[in-house]
């Protein structure tokens, strides 16, 4: 029997092996340059590749929505009752917070604090998950042309989701807060102790490098400290669930229950400039003293 691919001449075969060997050598010798080149060329290619991705994601979302609305109706009444109770409770909270906000406004005016600028944000839709199994990441339908750049923070109204690690023309990749390669500066709201929030292999998050003398407790809320990275201060990250304090260790750590269920996120906000940066940018545009 004539063998498979026997048509491909030995010359072509040799060329294929030579090409691969050359590419292998190039990637190992000029790793940074090759990465830069691939990333640069990937902008327009990613733009084209994101078109079928967006189409399929829209169909997928449509089917999921119909399924949720018409097929999976079990427990909706119970959920409705619970939500009504929650609304009542939140109304009460809301009025209290209105009072507090008014008081804060008055005190701020008294202290002549400069009004803090809100961060600039871009809303984006989740159109996919990481194409590999090794990273916990989301694909967004906004990219470089919408002003999104690597290292920008990504949140939902509930709290922190992750940060941008890669962009193409029309899409971007968000490394989730639960990925072990991600690190965000965190702060325990009650004790004001600072640490680093890192993901774990199990898809959870932990607050590391906390001082041994910290009096953290189960249930303490953890927020962004705003010291490092593109997250403004005070964004919710999670709640402390379990404290790990080992004898002889220099630091203690704590496992967190995240505010955002990163497995079910559909829409997010990308922070283009945190409060500090936007204030600075505003100052550059409108210098002080300008009428």
């Amino acid at each position: 029997m004539r063998m498979a691919n026997s048509r491909s001449s030995s010359g072509s075969r040799r060329r294929a092996f030579a090409c691969f060997a050359l590419l292998l050598a190039a990637v190992f010798l000029f790793h940074g340059e090759i990465q830069g080149l691939l990333q640069y060329l990937g902008g327009p290619v990613g733009h084209v590749a994101s078109i079928p991705l967006e189409v399929i994601a829209s169909i997928d979302t449509g089917i999921a929505n119909r399924w949720q609305r018409y097929v999976v109706l079990q427990g909706v009444w119970d959920e409705n009752q619970q939500l009504r109770k929650d609304i009542e409770w939140l109304r009460g909270q809301n009025s209290q917070l209105h009072e507090l906000a008014a008081a804060t406004e008055r005190l701020t005016a008294l202290l002549q604090f400069k009004e803090q600028a809100l961060p600039t944000m871009v809303a984006a839709r989740v159109i996919g998950r990481d194409t590999t199994n090794r990273y916990q990441a989301l694909i967004l339908n906004k990219g470089e042309r919408d002003g999104i750049k690597p290292d920008m923070g990504v949140i939902t109204p509930a709290g922190v989701v992750g940060r941008i690690v890669k962009t193409t023309g029309a899409s971007s990749v968000v490394l989730l807060v639960t990925d072990p390669n991600n690190a965000i500066a965190g702060l325990i709201q009650r004790t004001r102790d600072e640490g680093v929030v890192e993901g774990t292999q199990q898809g959870r998050a932990q607050l590391k490098y906390l001082p041994l003398l910290s009096t953290l407790q189960h249930g303490d809320r953890v927020v962004t400290s705003g010291l490092i990275g593109d997250f403004p201060r005070g964004l919710a990250i999670g709640t402390i669930m379990h404290i790990d304090k080992q004898e002889g260790a220099l630091f203690q750590s704590a496992e967190l229950m995240l505010e955002v269920d990163v497995g079910r996120v559909e829409e997010v906000l990308v922070i283009q400039a945190s409060s500090g940066q936007s204030t600075k940018a505003a100052r550059e545009v409108d210098p002080p003293g300008k009428p």
Binding site: A16, V48, G128
Partner: protein
């Protein structure tokens, strides 16, 4: 024609891998269809085509992943090339041999990527191998076996490979 088919394959793989496969994942592990596709192209079209399509798949899929550009480009290209080469050496290709071959190359590429991962210690590498690399290799092998069996029911694959 070959170029157009290759382009369609690469562009279709992105939404399938990023949007549809997460619904079919088992314990958060999904098969690497890019690797499977590169191996099949190499097997049926030869070393050069396997290499080129594998490189294209690796690159484009990598644009939609948090991983570094470069390594998956090489692993997918290498798998296409190797499949083309092995396809000529083996007289009787069966769905089982395709599955075992895919399991082996998926395991090898996964181990390579785990070993070159940054910021993780040896214990975490082994944890990654047990939790991700090994199950994914089994998944890839199963998908390859199933796909080859399905294709063999529909087409005369031996003739397709010798044409």
């Amino acid at each position: 024609m070959k170029l157009l088919l290759g382009l369609i394959l690469v562009l279709l793989l992105v939404p399938v891998q990023a949007t549809l496969l997460p619904h079919l994942s088992v314990w958060n592990i999904k098969p690497d269809l890019g690797l499977v596709a590169a191996a099949f192209v190499g097997l049926f079209a030869g070393e050069m085509e396997g290499l080129l399509v594998g490189l294209a798949i690796g690159w484009v899929l990598n644009l939609f992943s948090a991983s570094e550009l470069g390594l998956s480009l090489l692993t997918n290209g290498g798998v296409g090339l190797l499949a083309g080469f092995l396809g000529r050496q083996v007289s009787q290709v069966t769905s089982i041999s395709v599955g075992v071959g895919l399991l082996a190359v998926s395991l090898a590429s996964g181990l390579l990527e785990a070993a070159t991962s940054k910021n993780i210690d040896l214990a975490q590498v082994w944890q990654m191998v047990g939790a991700i690399v090994l199950p994914q290799a089994c998944f890839d092998g199963l998908v390859g076996t199933g796909l080859y069996w399905l294709l063999s029911q529909r087409f005369q694959l031996a003739r397709l490979r010798t044409e």
